[in-house]
Symmetry: C2
Subunit: 113 residues, 2 copies
């Protein structure tokens, strides 16, 4: 499994558009890609243009496949001029635990077990 933290700074004038595009991309990735396990995006309170995304992929192949999907390419293309900086921090997971059925972000396509 690959787990990382993406640290982004967004141009404040595009923040609303950026978060909508990011949410759409996250929901599509979790719904459609078996190897995308978790995508959790938050902004730092009082500094809404500072975004952190905790990401988990089954393996390197799943991540590379993700980069070629239509929903990721749409997100990447449409947000290219909105992102001022992007850093990826590789991590080692210690313990990742979620209540069954937990999600946040409004209606989305749901995968059933």
């Amino acid at each position: 499994m690959i787990v990382r933290i993406a640290e982004l700074e967004i141009d404040p004038q595009y923040l609303r558009e950026y978060t909508a595009l990011l949410s759409e991309e996250i929901e599509a990735s979790i719904a459609l890609e078996p190897g995308v396990l978790m995508l959790h995006a938050v902004s730092i309170k009082g500094s809404g243009e500072t975004i952190r995304i905790l990401e988990a992929y089954a393996d390197q192949a799943a991540y590379e496949s993700h980069l070629g999907t239509p929903h990721f390419l749409k997100y990447k293309t449409l947000t290219a001029n909105m992102v001022r900086s992007l850093a990826l921090l590789e991590t080692d997971p210690i313990c990742l635990s979620t209540k069954p059925g937990f999600s946040y972000g409004g209606p989305r396509v749901r995968l059933e077990k």
Copy 2:
């Protein structure tokens, strides 16, 4: 909902013991507390003593209740001398999405839907 990022630096000599205690505390919190929605702990690769935890609680009451539970108090007491620094970053969630049944960290008590 309350979502935050905890940033910790651990004394390297206690790292193994610390991560075991943290994992135990996370698993108990998710299994036993209705208002603890998500606890995801990772260490930064190449800097194992740098820990990030993404936390979600149903509301302030759930968080305060969490602070008084036996498993949290055990963790807090036993790790007090292992934690060199702790910062809590308040966040606004954008989109939090996980594959059904996703978890990492070995066997644990599971809540069934």
